[in-house]
C-alpha cells in the first residue's frame, strides 16, 4: 500500500464514521404508545388478542402456538453469530393511541404522515396519498408500529372484489378465509421464530384476490419499527384464487435505536390454479453502527404454496438493512407445472450478517424454479447464500436453474454459498452456477477517471452486478433500490 492509499483509506473511514453517526433515517417520532406489559407469558398473548377484539378461535390458535413455542429452541444452523435474546425484556404490543376508527388519510396523525415523508415514500405513492389526479394507483396499507392506521383505495379494490385489509380486520370480517389459510403454509411449529410470531403477531396484511381477477393496482405496505424495545411481529397472508394475479410490494426502514430490536415476521402466500403472485421486498432496517451496535434482528419466515396447476410465485428481495438477517423466501411447488422464482440482492456492510436464500420444493410434475442470488459483502460483514432445491420422487420433469454470484468489497468480509440439492427423481434437470468476484481497482479507477466519485463508482458497479435482480422489481421500487445499494455501501471501499 502506498502512502496515497493510506490517506484515502483514513479519510474514507472518517467519512464513514461521520455518516453513520447521522444515519439518514435514524429519527424517532413521538407518538403515545399503549404498551402491553413488558415480557412474554400467556397474559401477554391474551392482552394482544383482547386489544384486537379477536374471536375465541383466534385466541386459542395463539395460545396453542405460545405453548408450542415454550418447548422449542432457537435455530443454530445458520452461519450467524446471534446474541442471546431475552424474550422477557421486550414489549410485545404497542400501537399509536387511537382516537377513533379512521376513514381517510386526512384523519391520520400528522406526526405519522411526517414520518412517512421522512421515509421518502416514493413520489408516485406520495402523489396518490395527496390525491393527485391521474397518479398511478398504488394502494398503501400503512403499518405503523403494529397497527394499520390508514388504508387507501379500499373502495376501488372492493369493486374488483379484492380484499386488502389489516390481518386484524380480516380476522373479524373474513374469519372463514383467514381460518382456512392461516398457518396452512407456515405451520405454527415450523420454526422457533414462526411459532413466536403465531403467538404474538400484532398486525400485518391480508389479501384475497378472487377467481379470475387481476388486481387493478400494486399493493404496497410500509413497515416501520418505532417503539423502543418493541419487537415487531407482522403476519401477512396473501391468497390468489384461480386465475388471479397480484403484485405486492413491501418496503421498510427503521429509526436508530441503541438496543437491538427483534423482528420476526411470517408471510404466507397461496396460489391456486393458474394464479400468480409477485412479492417484492426492499428491506432497509437499521443495520447498526459500524461496530454493529443497535441494529435490527430480522428473523423472517416467508413461504409460498403453489397449490394449483400452473400457479406461479415470484419472490424478489433487496436486502440492505438489519444487523442480522435470517430469511429464506421459499416455494412449495405442489401444483403441476407450477413455477417458483427467487431473485435476491443481499448487501452486508460493517458488522452486518446475512444468511439468506430460498427453498424450492418440487412436488408437482413439470414444475420449474429459477434462483438468482447476488450477494454483496463489504466491511467486516458476512453474507451467506443458503438454498435448497428438492425434487420429490413423484415429480417428473422438474427443472431448476440456480445462479449465485458474490461480490466482495475489501478483504475483511466473507461470502459463502451453501447449496443443498436433493433429487429423488432422475428426470430432473438441475443447474447450479456460482461465481465470486471483487470490485477491481481497474474498474474503480476507470469510472473515477470519467468523473464519478469513488462512492458513485462503487454504487454504479454494484448496481450493474445486481441488475438481473433489480430489473425484476416494479418501477416504484427499482429506483429506490438502486439508491439504497449505493447508500448501503458508502465508505466501504478504501
Amino acid at each position: 500500500m502506498t502512502p496515497d492509499d493510506a490517506s484515502i483509506r483514513n479519510r474514507d473511514a472518517q467519512e464513514a464514521a461521520d455518516r453513520s453517526a447521522n444515519y439518514e433515517w435514524g429519527f424517532s417520532s413521538d407518538i403515545e404508545q399503549e404498551f402491553a406489559p413488558k415480557g412474554l407469558n400467556e397474559d401477554t398473548v391474551r392482552f394482544i388478542s383482547a386489544k384486537k377484539n379477536e374471536p375465541e378461535w383466534m385466541l386459542e390458535w395463539r395460545l396453542k402456538a405460545y405453548r408450542a413455542w415454550l418447548t422449542m429452541e432457537e435455530v443454530s444452523w445458520a452461519k450467524l453469530d446471534i446474541p442471546t435474546i431475552d424474550f422477557q425484556d421486550a414489549y410485545y404490543y404497542a400501537e399509536p393511541k387511537a382516537k377513533e376508527k379512521l376513514g381517510s388519510l386526512d384523519e391520520v396523525d400528522p406526526e405519522i404522515l411526517r414520518v412517512y415523508e421522512k421515509l421518502g415514500i416514493p413520489i408516485e405513492e406520495q402523489k396518490v396519498l395527496a390525491g393527485v389526479e391521474g397518479a398511478r394507483k398504488v394502494a398503501v396499507d400503512a403499518v405503523f408500529d403494529s397497527v394499520s392506521v390508514a388504508t387507501t383505495f379500499r373502495e376501488e379494490l372492493k369493486k374488483a372484489g379484492v380484499i386488502f385489509l389489516s390481518i386484524s380486520e380480516a380476522i373479524r370480517e373474513h374469519p372463514d378465509l383467514v381460518r382456512k389459510y392461516l398457518g396452512s403454509v407456515v405451520p405454527q411449529r415450523d420454526n422457533y421464530f414462526a411459532c413466536l410470531n403465531s403467538a404474538v403477531f400484532s398486525d400485518g396484511t391480508f389479501v384475497y384476490v378472487p377467481e379470475g381477477v387481476r388486481c387493478p393496482m400494486e399493493l404496497s405496505t410500509y413497515f416501520r419499527i418505532n417503539a423502543e424495545n418493541t419487537g415487531q411481529f407482522e403476519r401477512t397472508l396473501i391468497v390468489a384464487d384461480t386465475g388471479s394475479y397480484v403484485s405486492y410490494l413491501e418496503g421498510c426502514t427503521a429509526p436508530m435505536r441503541d438496543e437491538n430490536q427483534l423482528h420476526a415476521a411470517v408471510v404466507e402466500l397461496v396460489a391456486l390454479d393458474d394464479a400468480e403472485i409477485k412479492y417484492s421486498t426492499v428491506q432497509n432496517w437499521y443495520p447498526g453502527d459500524a461496530e454493529g451496535k443497535g441494529g435490527i434482528y430480522n428473523f423472517v419466515t416467508k413461504r409460498a404454496m403453489c397449490a394449483g396447476a400452473r400457479s406461479k410465485v415470484s419472490w424478489t428481495q433487496v436486502e440492505t438493512g438489519s444487523a442480522i438477517t435470517w430469511k429464506y423466501p421459499s416455494c412449495i411447488l405442489k401444483g403441476e407445472s407450477s413455477v417458483g422464482e427467487f431473485y435476491s440482492v443481499a448487501v452486508t456492510n460493517n458488522r452486518q450478517q446475512a444468511d439468506t436464500g430460498t427453498k424450492m420444493i418440487h412436488i408437482g410434475a413439470n414444475s420449474r424454479s429459477t434462483i438468482v442470488s447476488k450477494g454483496i459483502s463489504a466491511g467486516k460483514s458476512n453474507n451467506t447464500y443458503r438454498g435448497l432445491v428438492r425434487v420429490n420422487g413423484a415429480a417428473e420433469n422438474v427443472r431448476n436453474f440456480t445462479q449465485c454470484d458474490s461480490l466482495l468489497l475489501g478483504s475483511d468480509c466473507g461470502a459463502h454459498t451453501v447449496p443443498y440439492i436433493e433429487v429423488r427423481n432422475p428426470s430432473a434437470q438441475i443447474e447450479h452456477e456460482a461465481t465470486t468476484s471483487k470490485i477491481s481497482d481497474d474498474q474503480l479507477f476507470y469510472a473515477m477517471s470519467r468523473g464519478l466519485s469513488q462512492e458513485d463508482a462503487v454504487a454504479l458497479i454494484v448496481n450493474g452486478f445486481a441488475r438481473e435482480v433489480l430489473k425484476q422489481l416494479p418501477m416504484e421500487f427499482a429506483v429506490e433500490a438502486q439508491k439504497l445499494l449505493g447508500i448501503s455501501l458508502e465508505g466501504s471501499v478504501g
Partner: protein, 247 residues
C-alpha cells in the same frame, strides 16, 4: 494549460518517472513516444491520479492549480480525460448509463445543469454516428464482449460525449487495423483539434500521427524526455528506431 515540472514517480517502490518537464498550451497536440517500459503509461496514470502511482518529486499544474492534490474524478471535472490503453469492462452497466452518470457528475461538480435523458441520448447518438458505432452497442454493458478495436472506438465515443479540454490518450492506436486507425484519428481531430484544447498523445508508432499531426513530439526513455522536436521527429524515429534517436 498543463505544466509538468521535474516530475518523479514510483510504482511499487520502483522509480519510473525520473524528472519529466513538459508544458502543454491550448491548441497544441503533443505526442510522447518511446519504447516499452520507458514510462509512457505511468505518465498518463500519474496525470490522471491512479492510486498506487506515487509522486515523489516535482509538480503538475492545470491552469495554475495543483493537479496532484485532486482526486481522479475531480481532475475529470476540471476537463481532463484519460483514454485507456486497456479499457475496462463493467458488467451490467450500459454505456449509456455509465456515460450519462459520469457526464452529469462532472457537470454537477462544475455547477452546470445536468443533461436530461433525451438530451443525453441525442448527444450519444451524434457521437456514436460520427465514429460509425451502432447505438445498439451503446446500450450494451461497458466494454463487455467488445473486440479490442471496439473498445478503442468506444473510448473515442466517450471522448466525444465528455468533450474534455485536455485529453491524455494512452496508446489509443494499439490493436487497431488501418481503417479503424483512420476513424479514430479523424475522431481525435474532430473532437480535440481546437484552439482551446490540448492533447497528450502517447504512442509507440508513427501510424496514428499520419492522421493526427502533432505540433510537438517528445521521446521518452528510462523515465526522462531525451529529445523534443516537431512532427518530423516522429518520422526520424520511425526510420532509425528509438535506440539511435534516444542515444
Amino acid at each position: 494549460m498543463l505544466k509538468i515540472d521535474n516530475l518523479h514517480a514510483i510504482v511499487d517502490g520502483k522509480p519510473i518517472l525520473k524528472g519529466i518537464s513538459l508544458t502543454l498550451n491550448p491548441g497544441e497536440i503533443h505526442a510522447v513516444m518511446g519504447p516499452n517500459g520507458s514510462g509512457k503509461s505511468t505518465l498518463s496514470y500519474v496525470l490522471a491520479g491512479r492510486p498506487g502511482y506515487e509522486v515523489t518529486e516535482g509538480t503538475v499544474a492545470l491552469d495554475g492549480e495543483d493537479l496532484l492534490a485532486l482526486e481522479p474524478h475531480e481532475r475529470a471535472a476540471k476537463g481532463m480525460f484519460l483514454g485507456f490503453q486497456y479499457p475496462v469492462e463493467i458488467p451490467g452497466v450500459s454505456n449509456v448509463q455509465f456515460l450519462r452518470t459520469a457526464l452529469n457528475a462532472q457537470r454537477r461538480a462544475r455547477g452546470e445543469v445536468e443533461l436530461s435523458a433525451g438530451d443525453f441520448l441525442r448527444l450519444a447518438r451524434e457521437q456514436a454516428d460520427a465514429l460509425g458505432i451502432d447505438m445498439e452497442m451503446m446500450k450494451r454493458a461497458v466494454n463487455v464482449g467488445f473486440s479490442g478495436g471496439e473498445k478503442k472506438r468506444n473510448e473515442m465515443v466517450q471522448l466525444g460525449i465528455i468533450d474534455p479540454r485536455l485529453a491524455i490518450l494512452d496508446e489509443t492506436d494499439s490493436g487497431l487495423d488501418i481503417d479503424a486507425l483512420r476513424i479514430v484519428g479523424q475522431g481525435i481531430n474532430r473532437i480535440m483539434r481546437k484552439p482551446d484544447k490540448t492533447v497528450l498523445l502517447i504512442t509507440h508508432y508513427q501510424r496514428l500521427l499520419d492522421t493526427v499531426e502533432p505540433d510537438f513530439v517528445h521521446v521518452l526513455a528510462d523515465g526522462r524526455i531525451v529529445r523534443s522536436g516537431g512532427s518530423e521527429l516522429a518520422l526520424e524515429l520511425e526510420r532509425e528506431g528509438y535506440g539511435a534517436v534516444a542515444a
